[in-house]
């Protein structure tokens, strides 16, 4: 610690609550500056995450830099994370001295100059304005709503997302200015290991990775075992299709995760911690690596932290892509350099994990709660949520919604609220169902959306919470197609260790494929066979649930079984009428030729794989319905747009 000087020293003393009387004034000034309470020149904030990059935020950034150069104005540019409104990206905020920080939406590079021309001259281009941040010290903008008044934010409880989109994720100083690392400093100086475990246990925190296991219990188990080495693993493998909460959180506030890991590791007595994330999460990895380096530089990680005698090293492992590696025993094998196949539990990793040593595996979101609980006390945490599910839950809502978004609500909120906050389904469409928990979750029909989000209510209804990916279906979505999509995913990702999972998923996929395609020569017998296949699905699902080793196989049939329950009609239509009302199952389409347009060129007839098109050259051709397999080749080759499908 002696090596750290000047302004860093001030921050460190602040973190440790050891600010001396002489330092008090200068510390306050520094914190206020870092919080940008008073600014001397305009500040431009640009949301910078993977999704905003795709929306063009890099071009926005460049345009602001060019504007600064060309107009020769003195501006500070800061990159921040995401506030969760992915559909409105790129988002750019402007904070003028003395005025409220105001956000603009859909700021692509080409409109930057217009917006800045206006706002820098105190004139607000209202067509781009999104909202402003309330701050009693600053003068608000006229006619712009405050963020906390927007329904999207008003109904959320932003605890973990507090800093997201506001602070610079690549600056440890920003994080510290907003209270960061105080919980860790407090714990390491004033708490025993047991006391931390106790606080988390009493808080009622439950795992957010899907299982909902009480975090404190797991920690105590590991703490109670004598071992010369223990490990803490942060499971950041987030690979449920449709889930992106953790990614946004890590990209927007990586230090929160690092602080959470540091406290958790201390609690269980681990001095080596590993973050297992996806190799594909390139920006996540960059930001986490930076955060770890900054924490080392300030002496928050490493040897003998704050002279407490506690050492901690955190490293990152990039998962090379296998869904099953999200399962904790498979994840551990992957870290050991082996094929990521799950093991039978017990023994649980908490007693025998990485290299046979006691290892706690926790999900990123679980860990992100920890600093907040320490800072505010477990009693406070107990007041949020429901009786048996405390705190908040992150959700990413995508699919057929107006606003693809990330949000955080207290447990107990009805599921319908998530759809509502995401702006509902596109205009003119009807909400059909909501798939929660990705390939291991159920589809929930609108009538059931009043179910409160909490572990107990879900359990009673036979639903799985999953990690928090919510996918919304409207009536343009074919349920069979989605079920098939998830089954294909499972088939691809099954590690192959258990026969029911490996073979069952393949067979289920075959059956689903059969009912969503037109056999070349189908008769009544064919329909019967396909129907029998569907009957078989249910008993196959049972076997898979009861005999698979890990959650992947056990829950693989959830999407299918729930869809069968709620959308029996649609299955029957596919089987008997060979019809997909949503028009999604391409192989069920029947093609027709418009006699008005057809010139009789015969191009389609020559290419049809089943010889379903008949006719004589130079007069209109005709499709024999029974023979058409709906491949669509004829539509593609017709130069006169005379082929269409129903």
């Amino acid at each position: 610690m002696e090596k750290i000087h000047g302004s860093d020293q001030i921050l460190l003393h602040h973190v440790l609550s050891k600010t001396s009387d002489e330092q008090k004034h200068i510390t306050e000034e520094k914190i206020s500056m870092l919080r940008r309470q008073t600014v001397s020149k305009p500040i431009i904030y640009i949301g910078s995450t993977t999704s905003s990059h795709v929306a063009g935020s890099k071009k926005t950034l460049k345009a602001v830099e060019e504007y600064r150069q060309e107009m020769n104005v003195d501006l500070e540019i800061i990159e921040v994370g995401s506030i969760g409104l992915c559909s409105l990206e790129p988002i750019m905020d402007v904070q003028l001295p003395g005025r409220c920080r105001v956000s603009f939406q859909k700021v692509t590079g080409d409109v930057v100059a217009t917006i800045l021309d206006g706002v820098l001259n105190n004139f607000l281009p209202s067509e781009f304005a999104l909202a402003q941040y309330r701050n009693p010290l600053h003068q608000p903008w006229f006619n712009v709503p405050f963020f906390d008044d927007l329904p999207f934010f008003k109904h959320q409880h932003r605890l973990l997302l507090e800093n997201c989109g506001l602070i610079n994720p690549e600056s440890i100083e920003d994080y510290i200015a907003w209270g960061g690392y105080k919980a860790f400093a407090n714990v390491i100086s004033n708490y025993t290991h047991e006391e931390v475990c106790d606080a988390i246990d009493k808080s009622g925190l439950r795992g957010r990775g899907g299982g909902g296991f009480p975090t404190g219990k797991k920690w105590k188990e590991t703490l109670s075992i004598a071992a010369n080495q223990k490990y803490f693993i942060c499971n950041a493998d987030e690979s449920d299709p449709g889930a992106f909460m953790e990614r946004v959180l890590m990209e927007s506030d990586p230090h929160l995760i690092i602080e959470g890991i540091a406290i958790s590791s201390y609690a269980v007595g681990a001095n080596k911690a590993i973050i297992y994330t996806r190799n594909r999460y390139a920006l996540t990895v960059i930001r986490l690596e930076k955060a770890i380096q900054q924490a080392y530089d300030l002496g928050l990680l490493g040897f003998n932290i704050f002279d407490s005698g506690f050492n901690l090293d955190i490293s990152i492992r990039k998962g090379p892509g296998a869904y099953v590696c999200g399962e904790e025993t498979a994840l551990i094998k992957s870290i050991e350099g082996k094929r990521g196949m799950p093991n039978y539990k017990p023994p649980f990793p908490s007693t025998k994990g990485l290299h046979g040593k006691p290892t706690v595996v926790n999900n990123v979101e679980t860990i992100a709660n920890v600093p907040h609980i320490i800072n505010n006390g477990f009693e406070w945490f107990n007041t949020i949520g429901t009786k048996q599910s405390k705190g908040t839950k992150l959700f990413s809502v995508s699919g057929k919604v107006n606003r693809v978004c990330l949000l955080e609500v207290p447990f107990g909120t009805p599921l319908s609220k998530l759809v509502e906050l995401a702006g509902g389904v596109p205009e003119g469409q009807k909400l059909k169902a909501v798939q929660i928990g990705g390939p291991s979750g159920e589809c929930i029909i609108p009538e059931d959306l009043q179910t409160p989000i909490d572990f107990e209510s879900f359990k009673n209804k036979g639903l799985a919470m999953g990690a928090g990916g919510v996918i919304v279906y409207d009536d343009t979505v074919c349920i069979i197609d989605m079920v098939k999509y998830f089954m294909n995913f499972i088939k691809h990702e099954s590690c192959g260790k258990c026969i029911p999972c490996r073979e069952g998923s393949q067979r289920m996929l075959d059956i689903l494929t059969a009912i969503s395609s037109r056999p070349a020569n189908s008769d009544g017998h064919g329909s019967l066979e396909r129907f029998k296949g569907v009957i078989l699905l249910e008993s196959m699902a049972e076997v898979m649930r009861d005999t698979s080793l890990c959650g992947l196989g056990q829950t693989a049939s959830n999407p299918l079984i729930s869809a069968l329950k709620h959308f029996k009609n649609e299955f029957e239509e596919h089987i008997f009428e060979r019809k997909c009302v949503a028009g999604v199952c391409r192989n069920l389409r029947i093609y027709y030729i418009d006699v008005e347009k057809c010139t009789g060129c015969a191009a389609c007839a020559k290419r049809c794989p089943t010889n379903a098109i008949i006719g004589t050259p130079r007069s209109p051709y005709f499709v024999v319905e029974e023979k058409c397999i709906g491949c669509g080749i004829c539509e593609e080759v017709c130069k006169f747009s005379s082929v269409f499908f129903k």
Binding site: V54, A55, R317
Partner: protein, 151 residues
């Protein structure tokens, strides 16, 4: 091979734990896992090459043949699937006359299907040499290919 030699040298005290990170570094360096590189890693860690292949084929992200000059990844995440990612797969397979997982014979293009690329609000999304492009339609696809060729 010097890139690989450097990597091997850097890990001269490595243990089995480092197998995946080493393979990742090699793939980052040369784009795929060549036979020589696997042999070299086997020597380093004292593992039979069959074991290394067994491991590497288990994971989705390892390639065993050179990628194309333009490596195209098509997002097959849920939202992209719902927004018609399958027709993009069709499009590329036909356009370049290749199958997913392959590289064209002239070494220009290779095609891969990947899970959610993290920009669901802009689906369908593809990535060309690591740069993401969103809201893909039949119309803007050619344009994007041209843009990718320029960068």
């Amino acid at each position: 091979m010097s890139g690989i030699d450097d990597i091997i040298l850097r890990h001269s005290h490595a243990t089995r734990d480092s197998l995946i990170p080493i393979l990742q570094e090699i793939q980052d360096e040369i784009g795929y896992l060549s036979e020589e590189s696997i042999v070299a890693v086997g020597k380093l860690l004292n593992l039979p090459t069959s074991k290394i292949y067994g491991l590497a084929t288990f994971y989705n992200q390892f390639w065993f043949q050179p990628k194309g000059k333009y490596h195209i990844q098509i997002c097959q995440g849920t939202t992209c699937h719902m927004e018609g990612a399958f027709s993009l797969i069709d499009f590329f397979e036909k356009k370049f006359n290749l199958k997913v997982g392959q590289t064209t014979r002239n070494g220009e293009y290779s095609l891969e299907i990947v899970p959610c690329l993290g920009a669901c609000s802009k689906s369908p999304v593809i990535s060309i040499n690591g740069i993401l492009y969103g809201s893909i339609t039949a119309e803007n696809l050619e344009e994007i290919l041209e843009e990718a060729a320029r960068t």
